[in-house]
Each structure stands twice: as C-alpha cells, then as structure tokens.
C-alpha cells in the first residue's frame, strides 16, 4: 500500500482526462480520499484489492454513464495492479460553456 498515493494520483489524472468527467467527487456520506503522510488525494479510494473512483459527470452527458465509467476503467487499469475498479458518479455539473 506504499504506492497507494501514487496510484490515487494516477487514477485522478486518468479520470479527469476522460470525456464526460467534470471533476473528482468527494464522497457523499463518507469522504472519498486516499491519505499518506500529510498528503491527501480526493475522489479516489485505494484498497488492497479494489479501487474506488468518485467523479462528477459533465452535463449534458456526452455519452451514456456506463460508457464513461468503462473509459475511466480502461485508462486506469494499467496502473491499478489488478484491483477491481468501481466508478461512482456522484453528481452532474453543467459545464461553463453550456448555456442551459
């Protein structure tokens, strides 16, 4: 678990680079974050066998939510080290360039 924070950082980068992701989520009921020393990465929870990625999706959705989740999983999988990846869509956010 020593590399948990690095994995969390990589997962955050991969998730934010995915189309349809507006920002990282923070967890609804419990804070979703990975900690190490004084550092904290919000939106990713790294476990020994699983990886939880919390996102806020961009609205309107450019593609269906399962497809966005699948794309995130594909981008993260090289770094995930075989961990089961769960994607949680916490909210929808209207992008600044949308006039809704």
């Amino acid at each position: 678990m020593a590399d948990a924070i690095q994995l969390a950082r990589a997962a955050t980068e991969a998730a934010l680079a995915t189309e349809g992701v507006y920002s990282m989520g923070r967890g609804r009921y419990v804070e979703a974050a990975t900690y190490e020393g004084s550092e904290k990465v919000s939106g990713v929870v790294v476990g020994p066998e699983d990886l939880e990625i919390h996102i806020v999706a961009r609205y309107p959705l450019p593609r269906p939510i399962p497809e966005i989740a699948e794309n995130i999983r594909k981008r993260v999988s090289p770094e995930a080290g075989g961990r089961m990846t769960t994607v949680v869509v916490e909210d929808l956010e209207v992008a600044e360039d949308e006039n809704l």
Partner: protein, 180 residues
C-alpha cells in the same frame, strides 16, 4: 459513544466487585434491599409458574418485541447508491435530477417531485409525482411520461427497475410553471 462505553465499563467493574464480594463490598450492603427482594420474589414466582395473566402477557410481548428487533437488526440496510452493474454506481440525486429534467420537459407537466430508492440488484426504483392541470387526459399523459422517462434514462445508461408515475391534478398558480 465513548462516554457510554466508559460508563458501561465502570458499571461492569462495580458489578463484578459487588457480586464476588471483593474488597468487603457485597450486594446486601447496597441500599436496594426493597428492589432486590421484589426481584427475588418475582424470579421465584416465575420459577414456580405462579404469574398473573397480565404479567405473562407482558413477558410474551417483550419476548416477541425482542425477536422482531433481532430480525430487524439482521436485515441488511438498503444501499445508498444506485447500482448500474459492472462496478458502476450513481448517487440517487443524479437519477432524481435526470428524471426531474425529463419529466418537466413534457408539455403537460407543470411540476414534479422525484423519489429514488437504490436496490441491491442493478437499477433504481423511481417514484415520480407529476403535477398536471385539472381536466387533462391522465391516462395518456401517464403512459407518455412513463415511456419518455424510460427512454431518456436508458439513453443515458441509467437502469430503472421500477418506475411509478403518479399524476396529481394541481392549480397552475401553485405549480413550478404555469404553462409549458
């Protein structure tokens, strides 16, 4: 919680000390002789099967209540997030927002309120209450709204296991929008 646990621990220590009569403390020295005597009498009557009907009824009710409580505790709590299958979840508020958005795009709907329940199986249970003008054809609006919401959610990949649509006739002056 910590205080409660600390209190229970101290109480436990006192009980052990008094029950085993350690350090010259004994239960008989406690100023609870009336209570303990009544308790002893009660236990003796229970052992002899010499209880009144009211007491037996209360004890049976307490036992049933305890059993129901136990069963309720064993039941796992409802999930908080909507499962979409294959390791993807959405919060209930996302589904609520989406349902509300599409419902209010339907021309006959003047306002709506949405409730979403997550289930253990994939898909959410959606309870949609839509407010419409009096005198409208409720059957047509309901089926149209139902199919539109299902279609919209499936386009976005949001699975719905159960959709309950309820139409409420409302005064347009009291709804979110008066006309569409």
């Amino acid at each position: 919680m910590t205080l409660l646990l600390a209190g229970l621990f101290v109480l436990g220590v006192y009980i052990v000390v008094y029950v085993f009569e350690l350090f010259d403390y004994s239960l008989s020295s406690l100023p609870i002789s009336d209570f303990s005597k009544a308790l002893q009498d009660f236990v003796t009557r229970v052992e002899n099967g010499n209880l009144s009907v009211v007491t037996v009824t209360i004890l049976v009710l307490l036992a049933v209540l305890g059993l129901l409580w136990f069963i309720a505790e064993l039941k796992p709590s409802a999930p908080r997030r909507v499962r979409m299958g294959n390791g993807t979840y959405v919060t209930r508020s996302v589904v609520e927002e989406e349902v509300s958005t599409i419902a209010e795009q339907v021309s006959d709907v003047l306002g709506s309120s949405v409730g979403v329940k997550a289930r253990r199986s994939p898909g959410a249970q959606v309870d949609l209450e839509a407010r419409v003008r009096r005198g409208e054809d409720l059957g047509t609006i309901k089926s149209g709204l139902n199919s539109k919401v299902r279609e919209y959610l499936s386009e976005r990949g949001l699975p719905v296991s159960k959709l309950n649509v309820k139409l409420v006739e409302a005064d347009p002056r009291q709804t979110k929008s008066r006309v569409q």
